[in-house]
Symmetry: C2
Subunit: 345 residues, 2 copies
Amino acid sequence: MRAVFHEAQRLHDPERFLVRGSPQPSPEQPARIDALLAGVHQLGLVVEAPRDHGIGPIAAVHSADYLGFLQTIHGEWQGLPGASAEVIPNVHPDRRTATYPDHPVGRAGYHQADTACPIGPETWQSAYWSAQTAVAAADLVLAGAPAAYALCRPPGHHAYADMAGGFCFLNNSAIAAVRCLAAGRRPVVLDVDLHHGNGTQGVFYARGDVLTVSVHVDPHGFYPFFWGHAHERGEAAGLGSNLNLPLPLGTGDDGFLLALGRGIEQIRSFGADVLVLAAGLDAFAGDPFGGLEVTTEGFRRIGGMCAELGLPTVIVQEGGYLCPELGDNLVTLLGGFRDGQAVRG
Amino acid sequence: MRAVFHEAQRLHDPERFLVRGSPQPSPEQPARIDALLAGVHQLGLVVEAPRDHGIGPIAAVHSADYLGFLQTIHGEWQGLPGASAEVIPNVHPDRRTATYPDHPVGRAGYHQADTACPIGPETWQSAYWSAQTAVAAADLVLAGAPAAYALCRPPGHHAYADMAGGFCFLNNSAIAAVRCLAAGRRPVVLDVDLHHGNGTQGVFYARGDVLTVSVHVDPHGFYPFFWGHAHERGEAAGLGSNLNLPLPLGTGDDGFLLALGRGIEQIRSFGADVLVLAAGLDAFAGDPFGGLEVTTEGFRRIGGMCAELGLPTVIVQEGGYLCPELGDNLVTLLGGFRDGQAVRG
């Protein structure tokens, strides 16, 4: 298994986000990269930088107005009187009847779902290269590799086609899946992050050609609140192509694997021929978000179960925050997956 | 002309709101009431307290889940670890695919469009009595008064059926209009506040039985950004029953009155038999928001032009913020209206 990563992904350095009305330091820190790279090195994976495939594979998922916004808003924002250093939205449209706004404050509210995705001077650079990393890993798999690991940071699975949210700007997993679609493949996105992959669900919600499955903590009591419920099954051509498997707060390895097993069955029924594994590590018992109780060895079992599908797999890093075991959890997840593939091979 | 006001409207005391990423003191202060009452007294109007008509006339406009939220969220919020003193939203749904959330943070994001409507321990009390004030003024007019003034505070015109925003919680003007509808009348809401009356527009957008007209600063560069554009004309049964008259920044009396004249024509064509005048005073040149350049004497002309319609009129206070002329501007607006009605009578 090869790993992909670009140094520009370190540049985005978010300062704070609003939690229950008060600003808090952002946990989506560049230092996450070092912890994840330590795991990659421990596994002996070769790390390569992605080539630049340009905006094309990104624009296959995200709208042109949103991509323009991400590239220019920080400069425009700095021109507003009294503007904060980071772009933070404060006025949000009810999309049902909204006109697309011209003003930077309006566009911030339109394209940023929450205060957890502040945009700084280098956010675009990091998000762009994080997406290129996902594209490169998809290309490795499309070229015949049984698996590749995309060390994506900032993460992507809360980003919609035209909306950032929850530390995410470009939906790396969706971009990888659409890259596979464009190559004539039939992809599934399986999301094992602590949080529901609402952006990914949103991107594919009305499409039947990509199955989306997410195992996560029940959004009745947890971000992203509005999405991730079991009754959300897709719509129009996508009805039945979205499966949410919400878990009670504090669920441990066995409960997680039971739900994951249901997701695996659905993937088999869908006839997928390539897997995009949206690999968050924040379901860990020691993660600062503290929503689930998956253990370091639990991640090995998760990786092993995913490998049982026998599908070529693009593993895309999602969440997982600073704690002493962050790198170890990546080692067991990827190690469990690699061992599982080896057994099958 | 009689005036209506309830002392409980003073209780809501919002602390701050996020402007371009930074917290600022809220301009929607209880002291606005004293400035407006000074104007009322200068005009020699008798002030009466509203009777309590219960939740009925409010629930005729606002959804049950929203009204439940407004009444209980502050207490629930205080139970969250590290919660701020006021309820301030930080995660917002894209309504197109959202599930109604259970968690207080989710419901805050669902029901609060922006950070300018923080909810404190007494917000519900003040919003409730502000709405009762509008109901009482409507009842005076329905009982035969040529006009009545509702000193509503907090204001209402940015509040949707299920969403607070821009200092507003309950849409007093919409509540007054629906009160008139329920009495078999054909109402129009004419909004002369600096800001577009987006909540009022939203409440009636798909209805053809209430005409909504708003004269305001162009939302391309001003709150509420997403609404108030000239192309927004209503939908379904309401198509053609919404008229937005956006004005360039810095427009003065003549430009304002020219647009108002177009609104008055539309109201005549609609065949309205009762007018709800959503009377913001923040189009004033000296208002802290500084968007338009209407003068104190300009408000007299605005009042006079509204009186030319010859309709029984419920005058509902909307915006207008602390400046030395706030009371004077109410005096000229109501005085101009009263003089105009007297000339016709």
